[in-house]
């Protein structure tokens, strides 16, 4: 199983860099994972997207659809790509500690 070391902590991840165990996620983990996306700091705008994805995942056991994510966070998709250059699935979901989405996001 691959692992990465971020800010002195080793994380077990899949081949795409997504957490193997979503349960270990917390704000510090999110901040560490964000560095893999080239993000040195998470703004309130980042957190709004990350927290919505995280809460939706915990409630539904799946990532939200993109259209729902944009509507519920009042964020245009183009803006999400600016916040997370890898996009909502590869970027935002990874920072939110989800397994790699196979569906809509």
């Amino acid at each position: 199983m691959p692992s990465i070391e971020l800010n002195g902590t080793a994380y077990a991840v899949d081949e795409n860099g997504f957490l193997e165990d979503p349960a270990i996620w917390n704000d510090n983990v999110a901040t560490d994972l964000a560095t893999t996306e080239g993000l040195t700091a998470l703004t309130e705008e980042h957190w709004r997207v990350v927290r919505y994805i995280r809460e939706y995942y915990l409630s539904h056991d799946i990532a939200p659809m993109v259209r729902k994510l944009c509507k519920e966070t009042d964020t245009r998709l183009a803006r999400i790509f600016e916040l997370f250059p890898s996009g909502p699935a590869q970027g935002a979901c990874k920072v939110a500690g989800l397994p790699k989405p196979t569906g809509c996001v």
């Binding site: 259209r67 245009r76 998709l77 183009a78 250059p85």
Partner: protein, 388 residues
């Protein structure tokens, strides 16, 4: 503005109101099995089926209405044709501009059927040189299969000249008209097309699930399936007579009814008028996208010998992401990816970036739709430039 539908190269949407109304009414009054019995309703339904054969035969200037075969779609029709025309030891030629409807049957014939296949590349403008095909002719070349209009780059191939060269050598030309039937005129006799495959749900304005073949009199295709035909039931083997030779089981009456209505709508509106409208919008789209820094279009330098299908990318940005943003932020429906035509993308070198964004323009699109697409792509390109 509601949804801007620019995915007409995948399927025409919406259909003309006349198509919806006719299908609904016809199925309510004539939803019986045609050609299986002698009662009046059955005969009337059969007349619709045979009448549509005649209409399509005339539309394509085919030779005999019985050689107008109904199938599910172009892919189904091309499978009937290619598997029924080629045998082990044969050689066939196709192009890199093809859809998987041609590529995959050929790949199967190559790997499992003992048929040797060659692929002729298109040039920088997106056209296949007929002489490049002719240079590959061999004594055992039996079939040349060519896409009439590309579903990715929109180029219309010089089918008549390819057909002339094939005819000189007694090689059969099979043409995939999925993107062109109902968009531009097709005359199988004048264009030397031996077998034409068409689909009903795109520019012919019918529903999904109906397509077919228009086969010239001098060509024979083996039946590769067998089953009910509704006539001569005691015969142990599948019938050799057309159209039954290549039709199996109860036909798609609803699909044929819709195709009949769609064809009527096209003829009423006029093929030339439809094409002129779509190409005017296409020119507007090309001009608008060309003015956006960081957008690349493929094989659109000239719109001569083109249909209204355009592929583009925001440089350095995944095509799928562009399509998702157009959908979510701008309510624009288009298609992204490889468009079931992987060799086109491989030759353009864009398979590595997951293909391209494709806009397919239809007769119900407007200037406003095109301007929305230009604005959407422009916003994405500017945003990507800020991040990159």
């Amino acid at each position: 503005m509601s949804l801007v539908y620019l995915d007409n190269a995948a399927t025409a949407f919406p259909k003309p109101e006349e198509v919806y109304v006719f299908m609904d009414q016809f199925y309510r009054t004539h939803g019986v099995n045609p050609g299986r019995s002698g009662y009046d309703l059955c005969m009337e339904t059969g007349e619709l089926v045979d009448g549509t054969r005649k209409e399509l035969t005339a539309f394509f200037n085919g030779t005999t209405a019985d050689r107008l075969i109904f199938a599910y779609n172009s892919t189904d029709a091309l499978n009937l044709a290619l598997f029924g025309m080629l045998s082990p030891g044969d050689h066939a030629i196709t192009t890199t501009v093809e859809h998987n409807a041609v590529l995959r049957p050929f790949e199967h014939l190559s790997r499992f059927g003992g048929v040797e296949i060659e692929h002729v590349p298109f040039d920088a403008r997106g056209f296949v040189d007929p002489d490049d095909i002719a240079r590959r002719f061999r004594p055992n070349t039996k079939v040349v299969a060519v896409n009439h209009g590309s579903n990715v780059i929109g180029t219309v191939q010089p089918v008549a000249e390819i057909g002339r060269l094939c005819r000189e050598r007694g090689i059969h030309l099979v043409v995939d008209s999925s993107q062109t039937a109902g968009k531009i005129p097709i005359d199988v006799q004048a264009m030397n097309i031996d077998v034409l495959a068409f689909t009903g749900h795109k520019s012919l304005m019918g529903p999904t699930g109906i397509g077919g073949l228009c086969i010239q009199d001098h060509v024979d295709i083996r039946h590769t399936r067998a089953g009910g035909t509704g006539v001569r039931s005691a015969h142990r083997l599948h019938l050799d007579e057309y159209p039954w030779r290549l039709e199996y089981g109860t036909p798609n009456v609803m699909g044929i009814a819709g195709l009949h209505a769609g064809l009527g709508w096209i003829q009423k509106r006029g093929l030339d008028r439809i094409h002129e409208h779509e190409m005017r919008l296409m020119a507007r789209l090309v001009e608008g996208l060309r003015a956006i820094p960081g957008v690349t279009m493929y094989c659109q330098d000239s719109l001569d010998d083109h249909i209204a299908v355009l592929a583009c990318n925001v440089d350095g940005f995944d095509a799928g992401n562009t399509g998702t943003i157009l959908d979510v932020d701008h309510d624009i429906a288009c298609r992204t990816g490889l468009h079931c035509a992987p060799r086109v993308h491989e030759q353009l070198g864009i398979d590595r970036i997951h293909g391209a964004v494709r806009f397919g323009i239809g007769p119900f699109n407007t200037d406003e739709h095109i301007d929305a697409a230009i604005a959407g792509v422009g916003e994405i390109a500017r945003a990507h430039a800020r991040v990159a």
